[in-house]
């Protein structure tokens, strides 16, 4: 049967493994060739010292020696430096204490970033339960395997090249000052300075990427990439072959996600258009409404279009048919696990517990989640007479996805408004996909992550109130809109340019994620069909694709393949 990879695939796999090992060895040998390499610190003992000690506003007490003698403020800087030196000589003990405090501060931020990263990792379990519960029983094993393999293969792809593409420019030993690194913008593979398009260092986490600070960031970022990776499962399940799915995961982990991630979080051009083109604070996405969820959602949409709807989803009259969820208990439990994991996703994105905005972020995230769920529940109650449990769950996820970009920049009340809009949007999106576009999305992934991800990034440009993010992306560190300490500001608080930036950036994300995925996988699908055969789809993918059932006690009933419930009316 065509869905079993033959010996050709095995040879290809062997070649890939050999290539991987060789590249790894090679990149290790080549890495030291970069002369301006920041010093790496794999053991972590040299990470965090007195230079990390700052006041609450982020000002360091350590004064560095001015080097540019022609600078207009050279005299003042030199004077400050001399004063600092004199004080430091007088109080050597204070410097030692400061070193210790700095190390502790970085350690606190490490703990926070890693622990929230573990929470995000746990979202994988939530997604697995949610999507598995939403499909038919005959595909439960298939769903669990997709979610599981997504983690495994996308992780390897991200380790090999994804991290370097995304953060090679800034995070190699290591971007955020919160984690003890020094951000720079000079290691792009494509582009340079403030116009970077692709990072280019740290392949296979070698060279300067083999560093405690850098690896702290790696763990946090890899689980974010995984989120984009498993979003697609919800839209392409019940009909995609396993080999095609693995290709999708490698594509997302190695390329699709890291490239857009580089543009927004890796010091790439989109994040810098605040400085270069004077567009607000540049394109801002705090925790990834667009970078993670939007990219995943629109990639899922392209794949779903290529695959086509499940057999029997649309009747001869073109009317959509329902394939009810097989386990609502999984769906609700999964959604709650996702909510819990999101407490790492959003607050963790400060990359440091010393940024006390985390409390506001956590409250905003929760508020938007419940507002989204309430809106979806009530809207469905009103439209169809009964509140659909799966849509109530989608509503909560919609609120979470939408608040992910603006969570640090908006007030709690704005969060509720964003959640309500997302809750309505996700319902309309599901109906729009199902009835008008006729795109079959079994779990609502396109509507939840794609549409609400786009909306979340745009909502930042509307609701950001300027209380947080002064100096974001290097814009307005001293003052913004004529006010000192003014942070990222949206349309209703007086910065229309931020709104246009968000609208443009989020829309670019849609075009990028959908367009690139559609192009690449249309070709793949031409070479070899990514879809399972008709018989396999009717039987359920569990046995033909994986040789076992999720619920073996159903073997007689399911393999008979005659029962109407399992054919979904096909």
């Amino acid at each position: 049967m065509s869905y079993i990879p033959g010996s050709g695939a095995r040879k290809w796999f062997l070649k890939a493994v050999v290539a991987l090992v060789l590249t790894n060895a090679l990149s290790g040998a080549v890495a030291p060739a970069f002369a301006e390499e920041p010093k790496r610190d794999p053991s972590g003992v040299a990470t965090g010292g007195k230079t990390a000690v700052t006041d609450a506003a982020g000002n360091s007490f350590v004064v560095t020696e001015p080097t540019d003698k022609t600078a207009p403020d050279y005299a003042q800087s030199k004077k400050d430096f001399d004063e600092y030196q004199a004080q430091a000589t007088k109080e050597p003990l204070a410097l030692k204490v400061a070193d210790s405090v700095g190390h502790l501060k970085i350690a606190t931020n490490f703990s926070w970033t890693l622990l929230t990263g573990y929470l995000v990792l746990f979202m994988q379990a939530g997604f697995a339960l949610l999507t598995c519960g939403l499909v038919r029983k005959k595909n439960a094993g298939h769903l669990m395997m997709l979610n599981f393999a997504a983690y495994v293969f996308a992780f390897l792809a991200y380790y090999a090249v994804g991290y370097a593409f995304q953060f090679g420019a800034v995070a190699v030993n290591a971007a955020p000052a919160n984690l003890g690194g020094v951000p720079t913008l000079n290691h792009f593979l494509i582009g340079s300075g403030q116009w970077g398009f692709l990072g280019g260092k740290g392949f296979f986490l070698t060279g300067p990427a083999y560093d405690a600070s850098s690896n702290c960031l790696t763990l946090f970022e890899v689980v974010f990439m995984e989120t984009a990776g498993y979003i697609i499962v919800g839209a392409i399940c019940e009909r995609i072959t396993f080999w095609a799915f693995l290709l999708c995961e490698l594509f997302i982990g190695a390329f699709l996600y890291p490239v857009f991630g580089c543009w927004v979080w890796g010091g790439g051009w989109l994040s810098q258009i605040g400085s270069t083109l004077h567009l607000g604070h540049g394109y801002v996405d705090f925790a990834g409404s667009s970078v993670v969820h939007g990219v995943g959602g629109f990639c899922a949409m392209a794949l779903s279009v290529i695959l086509g709807p499940r057999l029997g989803k649309y009747g001869p009259d073109g009317k959509p048919r329902a394939f009810p969820a097989h386990n609502i208990v999984f769906v609700v439990t999964g959604t709650f696990i996702l909510l819990f994991g999101w407490m790492g996703f959003n607050p963790g994105s400060t990359l440091g517990a010393t940024d006390l905005r985390i409390a506001v972020v956590a409250v905003n995230t929760n508020l938007s989640a419940v507002a989204g769920s309430a809106a979806a529940m009530l809207l469905w109650y009103f439209m169809f007479g009964k509140p659909d449990i799966t849509m109530a769950c989608n509503g909560m996820l919609a609120g979470l996805v939408a608040i992910t970009a603006p969570c640090a920049f908006v007030s709690p009340t704005s969060s509720v408004v964003i959640g309500v809009i997302a809750g309505v949007l996700v319902c309309l999106g599901v109906l729009f996909n199902e009835r008008i576009l006729k795109i079959d999305d079994p779990c609502g992934a396109i509507s939840v992550h794609g549409y609400c991800g786009w909306f979340g990034a745009v909502s930042l440009g509307i609701f950001a109130d300027g209380t947080y993010g002064a100096g974001w992306n290097g814009v307005g560190a001293l003052s913004y809109l004529g006010k000192a300490g003014q942070g990222v500001t949206g349309l209703i608080h007086g910065d229309a340019s931020q709104f246009w930036t968000q609208l443009g950036g989020a829309t670019l994300m849609v075009v990028y994620a959908f367009g690139l995925t559609f192009t690449v996988f249309s070709v793949v699908n031409k070479v070899r069909s990514m879809r399972v055969s008709k018989e396999v789809e009717l039987t359920g993918l569990d046995v033909p694709e994986f040789g076992m059932l999720a619920y073996p006690e159903d073997a007689v009933e399911m393999l008979a393949a005659g029962s109407q419930a399992h054919q979904g009316g096909a």
Partner: protein, 112 residues
């Protein structure tokens, strides 16, 4: 000997069982089944698409009794299974040729 089959609501099984054991019925077999009657199921909405629940869950009882117990058993099932709402089920009574107890090989009413 008669065989009495009854399709009842799952929720009424306990009521029926209690009444039957009170009558001295010695054995009872229950199947979980699905089916439809004159109502032909009903329509629900899942994520905005309609679907029909054609086959409703029911309990199918099978009881073997001697002639004299037929009427009391039927009465007991009627009492226990009736809610007065559509979907209460049906009772079928058929004649039975032979009953054999596998352990002893005993035949006839004594084997019931």
């Amino acid at each position: 000997m008669k065989r009495i089959d009854a399709v009842i609501r799952p929720s009424q099984l306990d009521e029926v069982k209690q009444r039957l054991t009170g009558l001295g019925v010695t054995g009872l077999t229950a199947f979980e089944v699905r089916g439809f009657g004159r109502q032909k199921g009903h329509t629900e909405t899942y994520r905005g698409s309609e679907y029909t629940v054609d086959f409703l869950p029911k309990i199918y009882l099978s009881i073997i009794v001697a002639e004299d117990l037929v009427e009391p058993v039927v009465e007991a099932i009627l009492e226990g299974a009736r809610t007065g709402v559509i979907g209460d089920g049906k009772i079928f009574v058929t004649s039975l040729d032979e009953v054999i107890r596998i352990r002893t090989g005993e035949r006839g009413p004594g084997a019931i």
